[in-house]
Amino acid sequence: MGENGFLRMVRALSVKRDVIFAIAALGLVVLASLCAPLYARVAGVDPFSSNVAGTAVRHGQTLDLMQPNDNPLHLGLTPLGPDWSAGAYSLGADSQGRDVASRLLYGGRSSLLIASAAAFLCLCLSGSIGICAGYFGGWVDILLSRLLDILWAIPVYLFAISLSVVTVGHGIHLGFVTLGADSFLIPIGIIALVYVPYAARPLRARVLSLSRADFVTAARGMGASDFRILRREILPNLAPSMVVLAPLVLALCLLAESALSFLSLGVQAPSASWGTLIQDGEGLLYTRPIVAIAPGVAIVITVLALNILGNALRDYLDPKGAGR
């Protein structure tokens, strides 16, 4: 895909209403997440430390963050609910008295960072595997394909859970490489790895058909080396397939990250991602549903936008496989 091809694609896609919606939504989510520290400073809230004894100002009145329950004896505490203003505690507080809105924004930072890094890593790995298996063939292909078969057979979430459960709380110590238990690199690596079979299979098939194409035979006939063929012929033609996969893999990574964090196996405290927030809100589901609902809505909007974008890209670049 040359520069002209790219421009043509942008022009063709930018007239579609659903693509405009998707890009606007994604831009908004990313921008909001980037502004998380700004919001926390302006509103004067700390999203990470517990603030059970804190107060918030509503309509000129100072209210405790943890309100006594309505039952006759006023037993137990319920966090302050949302008032939908723009200031501090606009979405209320969670069970630790932390500002839900600021946690939502910070959670978006973690979720988006982990998911996009994992998707990038996954595509790099899958691309390399696809090229090795598809272009060189022979025993390399057999070995890699069998390996993918094995990974493919383990249900994705179970695989991710298995890898997380042995690293959670301990981190990874591999010779001179040490990753702390709270390092984002652990969930990134795990999520990237579990989706490799998903992305590597179509890429391998594409490389295989490309390496049998006439222009590759022609290049080889003209004496081009393998490296030159890969760089000049295969890679540029593989790029569209990777571009189509990117938003879809990113969407899957985001969902996987939220599931892992929901099971407390993803990002570790004090960091939080959208999945962690849903987990936090589970205990308050019937009294303060906003705590669990809001991060889920953020996930749905982001994943939906990515899926719309991915489908539009596929329709444009790969019309035969359209509609999936």
Binding site: P155, L163, A322
Partner: protein
């Protein structure tokens, strides 16, 4: 034919062996993740660590440990939990399996019915607002995290609207065995299985629609139309016949993945005591043998299901059987 079957079985055995090695390595040979430390607890003295290591056989070479573990899992089936001493893992999994099976069967029922309906309606009314609406709905369905959707469902059916006429029938979270009370069984599984089915419904409806639309361009459809077949016959009989192969093969894979533990999150949110929830509970206590057993069984189950799907596919599609369509 027999040679192909044998080679297929050989490949399957190889993949199963690979899976067992991989899963074993994840749990017992990950560098830096020492299972002894897990069992002995934080800050255990070196003597305690040494005793645990000897008792569980972690001081033996890895291949020996692997063989012993496989023997306990598949031959003697007396692998015990690291956490609840004396609790056997295999019967535990076996007793949880019917719950998962019931849940996934109901979900599959809903997602097949739903996706057939949505897919056919959108294909017939393609490019109308109905089609566009249904496809967006499908996309929303497959963009929702299933555990979050489950919580939203719980919020409305257990709390907010529980006392209205709509959801008064919803039983409290949990499972009722079929043998105890068939109606209660169906009621306790209705909402969980619908929740689980939503994302698949979206995905399958989209696939069916695109397959149906591409089938409509085939010569056989044109012939059928020319011979005077009505729209119902063209779409439901000729159209589905051309497009159901990829639907069925995909269905087999997803069904197996769900049975193998893909329904974990749904079971957790709806408190259904299936294999997934068992795994989840083992996560909290880091009970490695239990998690390993469920992952191993799941993977082997998926491999066998894949082979079955391939076999059915080959039986149904003469192009593959004759090897003309081979990869």
């Amino acid at each position: 034919m027999i040679a192909a079957l044998l080679s297929r079985i050989g490949q399957m055995a190889l993949v199963i062996f690979g899976i067992s090695v991989l899963v074993f390595c994840i749990f017992f040979a990950t560098p830096g993740a020492d299972p002894t430390a897990r069992i002995a607890g934080r800050g255990a003295s070196p003597q305690v660590m040494e005793r645990v290591r000897a008792e569980y056989g972690f001081d033996r070479p890895l291949p020996v440990q692997y063989m012993r573990m496989m023997e306990k899992l598949f031959v003697s089936r007396d692998l015990t939990s690291f956490v609840n001493h004396g609790q056997q893992v295999v019967p535990e999994v076996a007793s949880a399996a019917p719950v998962t099976l019931s849940l996934v069967l109901w979900a599959a029922f809903f997602w097949v019915i739903g996706s057939l309906g949505i897919g056919i309606v959108s294909a017939v009314m393609r490019d109308s607002w109905v089609d566009r609406f249904l496809m967006v709905l499908g996309l929303v369905g497959l963009s929702m995290p299933v555990f979050w959707l489950g919580e939203v469902v719980n919020l409305f059916t257990q709390s907010r609207w529980h006392d209205t006429w709509m959801f008064r029938w919803v039983p409290p979270l949990g499972y009722v065995p079929l043998t105890e009370n068939p109606l209660g069984w169906a009621r306790s599984l209705l909402l969980p299985s619908l929740t689980l089915a939503v994302s698949f419904m979206g995905l399958y409806a989209r696939i069916l629609r695109s397959e149906l639309l591409s089938a409509m361009g085939e010569d056989s459809i044109r012939t059928a139309r020319a011979k005077g077949a009505g729209p119902v016959r063209v779409w439901l009989w000729h159209g589905l016949r051309l497009s159901w192969l990829s639907y069925v093969s995909l269905f087999g894979l997803d069904f197996a993945q769900l049975l193998g533990g893909g329904a974990l999150l749904t079971e957790v949110v709806f408190a259904l005591p299936g294999v997934g929830r068992l795994t989840y509970q083992a996560l909290a206590t880091l009970d490695l043998p239990l998690i390993m057993a469920t992952v191993m069984y799941a993977a082997i189950f998926v491999v066998i299901a894949n082979a079955l799907v391939d076999g059915i596919y080959a039986l149904l599609d003469p192009r593959i059987r004759e090897g003309q369509h081979g990869r």
